[in-house]
Symmetry: C2
Subunit: 151 residues, 2 copies
């Protein structure tokens, strides 16, 4: 087997900066959301449902959209169901499973929390970047998403 | 209160691309490491210890370096102790707690797994970027890290 192509110093610094920034950022956003009784993961689920027709998504689509396993999402939805933010509904037309549906409380919660959360995303990430860098982030990461989704 | 400064379409796309790419990437790297019996989190801990003098770090420093809470790290180290990859040692000189120490098996494991893991980091991220983009990732994320660490 050929020698591994270790990362160069430049590549190492880029990879570390990406990893550390992401972890610190989601850690901070998670902590800020805790003040509203939500986790970052809860928030992402509420956003996805609130932007979907009839505020509902098939569980498998919601798992794909939030990049997590079906079983992890199922635990998450159970906790959010207990908090009254979502409900589960069986799909009558086909056998492809269950929908997660936003409740009125869930919708009210996302409306109430979104302004603070967006302020955090701006303060800790977006407003630290200039317009060129905003475009570069999209240009750099979109092909990574396409590669990993096998497109 | 003023209207929230919602993200513009450009900012929204950048933020989504960053988030989705990161999740898909760590999900993939985690799955590849599972073939070696490690999680991505295990790997990060082994790397940090292997690069430290005497292959040991204070638990609080290791928590900072891997951006996780002391309690979460403690559970993680317990699992890795059971797998024989690390041990805990009480600090005799001071009362500032415990060290995590890499075992010979832990060192052997990181040596064995690192080539495959680096190949994954290249295939799914680094090799998709040109040299300018490598520099841009560092330039974009380093100030985010500094901001979130309060420097």
């Amino acid at each position: 087997m050929a020698d591994p192509r270790w990362l160069t110093a430049d590549e190492q610094r880029a990879w570390r900066a990406h990893l550390t920034a992401h972890r610190l950022l989601t850690h901070r956003l998670d902590r800020e959301l805790q003040e509203h009784g939500l986790s970052f993961n809860d928030y992402e689920i509420l956003v996805n449902l609130s932007e979907s027709p009839d505020h509902r998504m098939r569980m498998s689509d919601l798992a794909d959209a939030t990049v997590q396993s079906r079983s992890r999402l199922s635990h998450q939805i159970s906790r959010m169901e207990q908090a009254g933010l979502v409900t589960r509904e069986l799909c009558e037309d086909d056998r492809r499973g269950t929908f997660a549906v936003l409740t009125p409380l869930g919708y009210h919660t996302i409306e109430r929390v979104a302004p603070d959360h967006v302020a955090g995303v701006r303060a800790h990430f977006i407003d630290l970047l200039n317009p060129d860098q905003i475009r570069e982030v999209e240009e750099i990461y979109t092909p990574v998403v396409a590669h990993l989704q096998g497109r």
